[in-house]
Symmetry: C2
Subunit: 245 residues, 2 copies
């Protein structure tokens, strides 16, 4: 039994997230169709993360098991890219141990939240960045972001309706940087709760607007109350950026 891991990159604008759905086009569904064509049978492709509708990935890992096919891993990259649409790319394919699982074996993930910080409409980033018209103070927000670093119960930064065993996560890094008219929020953690990155992003935007004081971020986390944190920033700015195993 071979266990193949794919490293993907995708523009999520046209997809209803990763996870397969019966009546919507998803990244998982699209990748499973391509895998079926190349590997000869329908195989479940396990993803490293359930991404929301419209969310992108600079790096995303998934894996699937096959008994039948002897296609070398390096040939699979070209074959899959030839079938997949232009907005999903296979960057690498590796043979893994039989026990490897893209999601459960992941040690940490880094997300970026990309903001087109300008009042000017940008037709090239319409679905690839969140437009925010008022000037973001990246130095101040970078200081504010440092309050996210640490091990906490992140219930205040989790969408309601989520059912996870533990809401404790360790944020390893949090930073804010400017690249011209773009501002990038970068968050790394051992795992993220549902909508956690988008609420972390929305809270920093509230800090910029003076609606939340940066000195109170720790208290908001400790309160465990979703109402105290900022808004859920929209999906188009969110990119899974790096996954560590």
């Amino acid at each position: 039994m071979r266990n193949l891991r794919l490293k993907l990159s995708f523009d999520g604008a046209a997809y209803h997230g990763w996870q397969i759905q019966s009546n919507a086009v998803t990244v998982q569904g699209t990748v499973e169709e391509a895998v079926e064509k190349i590997f000869g049978s329908h195989l479940t492709v396990y993803g490293c993360s359930r991404t929301d509708s419209g969310v992108h990935a600079n790096e995303y890992f998934c894996n699937f098991k096959t008994e039948k096919s002897a296609i070398p891993a390096e040939n699979a990259v070209k074959a899959l890219n030839g079938i997949l649409p232009p907005d999903i790319a296979v960057l690498q394919c590796d043979e893994e141990d039989p026990e490897f699982h893209s999601r459960y074996d992941c040690k940490s993930k880094e997300y970026i939240y990309k903001i087109w910080n300008s009042s000017i409409k940008n037709p090239f980033f319409a679905n690839r960045a969140y437009q925010y018209k008022y000037t973001l103070d990246e130095v101040n927000l970078n200081e504010a972001a440092k309050s996210y670093i640490g091990t906490y119960d992140w219930s205040a930064f989790c969408a309601s309706g989520s059912s996870v065993k533990s809401t404790v996560r360790t944020v390893i890094n949090a930073e804010v940087l400017r690249q011209g008219d773009f501002v990038i929020f970068k968050f790394e953690a051992d795992g993220f709760l549902y909508n956690m990155v988008r609420i972390m992003a929305g809270t920093l935007i509230y800090v910029n607007e003076g609606k939340i004081d940066k000195s109170s971020i720790k208290d908001i986390i400790l309160s465990g109350d979703r109402d105290n944190a900022g808004f859920t920033a929209p999906p188009e700015g969110l990119y899974l950026n790096r996954v560590e195993y």
Copy 2:
């Protein structure tokens, strides 16, 4: 009679070029619909250039005349952007003299041809750059591009079937530069023939491949024979970049 000039920017991936067609979605058709909603009647919008299907614009000008509407030019920007799809942006709106015409009054145009110069599939630039897998030598190509500068009959760089009065154009600037994994060809002229920029780009790619010697570019221009120039590079790399009046 007011004559309003719009400065646009658009991602052309979803459009069959600028010029209105009965059975295809075009930039002109989409802009005319938005103008009709804001200005209250159907008005012909005159563009500065007929762009091909899939071609983009960082800067594009068009104009239209209205007798009825008193909407201030500065308000039109916001109103039109609210109606236009995310991939077409109005950046500016100015009152012009009654005789002004976006196309006939244009003094020069600058196009860029954007190449994703990597063997790795890039899902974020699938329709926004031309992927070329083999390393482009931007220093050598920049030297080669200088041969384009001057006033010539550009028949060798014009798609057949084009019917223009004169095939003489003056290329003011031609350069090649690298930005990380992107290579940019930049061409400025008082005007371009049909497919001229894409043939200029394809000819530089042939120079990189050793199919055309850079010392023979002048001879190819002077030959007037389309067969001597390189291939017509695909539309997804082409951007109208700047228009001077």
